[in-house]
Structure formats: C-alpha cells, structure tokens
C-alpha cells in the first residue's frame, strides 16, 4: 500500500490531449458527412421517376 500520495506530473500531456481532440473532431465530422451523403442519395433514389 502507498504511504503517501504519488508525486510528480505526467509530462508531455498536451500532445496526447490534442491528438484525442483532433481524432474526436475527425470522427464526428466524418460520420456527419457520411450521414448527410447517404441521406441525400436515398432521397434522390426515392424521388427518381
């Protein structure tokens, strides 16, 4: 068991944080784009004479 709280701070945290945010933004954007294009295609096919 630890006698005291651990000391020190994780170094280089910014690059990990930025990577996580960029991947999140990319993931959400790509899915939104995929939904929009699939919906547009389905609507176009539906309205075909």
């Amino acid at each position: 068991m630890l006698d005291a709280a651990p000391e020190g701070v994780v170094a280089g945290g910014w690059s990990y944080a930025i990577a996580a945010y960029v991947i999140t933004a990319l993931g959400l954007s790509v899915y939104a784009w995929s939904l929009a294009s699939r919906l547009k295609k389905a609507n176009r096919e539906e309205n075909k004479p």
């Binding site: 994780v10 945290g13 990990y16 996580a20 945010y21 939904l35 919906l39 389905a42 539906e46």
Partner: protein, 234 residues
C-alpha cells in the same frame, strides 16, 4: 400574402446540431484553455472533457436503442425500428471514439495503448456486439424479419451495457471508478457538463438523421421489392 422567414424552414434537428456544435466549441475551449491541469496527470487529463461525454452518451444511445427494441417487438412500427437503428449507430460511433480516446489517455498515464482490464474489455465487447447487430441487419433482406432480428440482437447485446458501467465497482480495475461533482474541482465540472450536453445534442442529431435515412431506405425497398417480384413472375 404571408412569407415564411428563411430560418423557420430549418428542421428542429439542425437547430439541435447547431446548438450542440456551438456548445462543443465553447466547452472545448474552456476544457483546453481555462480549466486547470490535474495535479498528477497534468494536461493529459483534459482528454476527460471528450472521453467522459463520449462514454455517457454512448451508453445512453444503447439504452435508448434497448427501449426502442422492446417497443418495436411490441408494436412492429417502422418508426421505432428506425429510431432503434439510429441510436445503435450513434452509439457505435461514440463507443469507437471512446476507445480511441481512452487508448491515448492510457498510453500517457499507464504507459500502454491497451490493457485487457475489465472496463476496457467490456467496452470493446460492447462495440463489437452493437457493430455486429448492424452487420447482422445488413444481411437480412425481408423488412419484418430484419426488424425482429435487430430488436432481439439489441436486447441480448444490451446485457453488456450495465456491466461496462458497474464493472469498476464490482471488480478490481486499472480504470478509476466514477467521479462525482464533489470529488472533482468545480473548474473541471463546467467544461465536462458543457461537453456532455453538446455530445447529447449531437447524438440526438445523429440518431434522428440515421432514423430518417432508415425510413427512406425502407420506402425505397417497398417500391423495389414488388418490381423485382413482377420481374421474377414475368
């Protein structure tokens, strides 16, 4: 003559998405540049402001899909089938993001990208189960059977959802147990709540758009199937 105001034509879903996006931008700014770094984890802890909202809303989407699955088995209404599919797919996207964010956080704090820890493993199983439900659905051509099979598979897959939430309390895990506003600095609670609401609004938008897509595909299939039958008989 009355004239409609342009913004009045925008559907409620886009309003929800717009609010979600605006809130996400503000929440992200506060999370990255205003909230203080954590005492031991430093700046890497800022991943929490996207990681926890992804987790909460992913679980919420799967819970919504579970409820829709029960209702669809009861009523067989296409609207509920579409809602179920919308929430599963939104849940899968958030679940995938959750695992990637968690992996990055794990690398910085645990020194590894992945560990077969109970929280990580149950979260991965949850992703595979619900992605499997969507895959299963794509193999079934008949609309009624597709709805029934998806609903049953969703109900079975949902067994893992409470496991993901409670496993850190029930078993020993590297992953921390849930925090409460009492155990987190107030300056950290604000961006967390902002992003949680933002992710919720975006998840609603995703689920609603995916449900609309499902209904459009169903209408297209209803037109195409009789045409195909006519061709076979001819």
């Amino acid at each position: 003559m009355t004239q409609r105001i342009p913004w009045a034509r925008i559907s409620w879903e886009h309003w929800v998405a717009g609010c979600g996006l605006a809130l996400l931008l503000v929440g992200t700014y506060v999370g990255l540049f205003v909230a203080p770094p954590e005492r031991h984890m430093g700046d890497v802890q800022r991943i929490m402001y996207v990681h926890v909202p992804s987790a909460w809303n992913g679980l919420l989407c799967y819970t919504g899909a579970f409820v829709a699955a029960i209702v669809v088995l009861w009523t067989s209404r296409p609207k509920w089938d579409a809602a179920m599919v919308g929430m599963i797919e939104a849940g899968v996207v958030l679940n995938a993001l959750l695992l990637v964010q968690g992996s990055i956080w794990a690398r910085a704090t645990w020194g590894v990208w992945w560990d077969w820890d109970v929280r990580l493993t149950t979260s991965l199983v949850m992703l595979l189960l619900f992605a499997g439900v969507m895959a299963l659905r794509s193999f079934v051509e008949d609309a009624e059977r597709r709805t029934t099979w998806t609903a049953i598979a969703t109900i079975v897959s949902f067994v893992d959802v409470p496991l993901v939430y409670f496993c850190v309390r029930w078993w020993r895990s590297l992953h921390q147990v849930q925090s409460t506003p009492e155990t987190v600095d107030r300056a950290m609670v604000l961006p967390l709540r902002m992003n949680a609401v933002a992710f919720l609004l975006l998840a609603i938008w995703f689920a609603a758009r995916r449900a609309r897509l499902e209904l459009a595909l169903r209408r297209r299939d209803e037109v195409a199937v009789p045409e195909r039958r006519e061709l076979v008989h001819a």
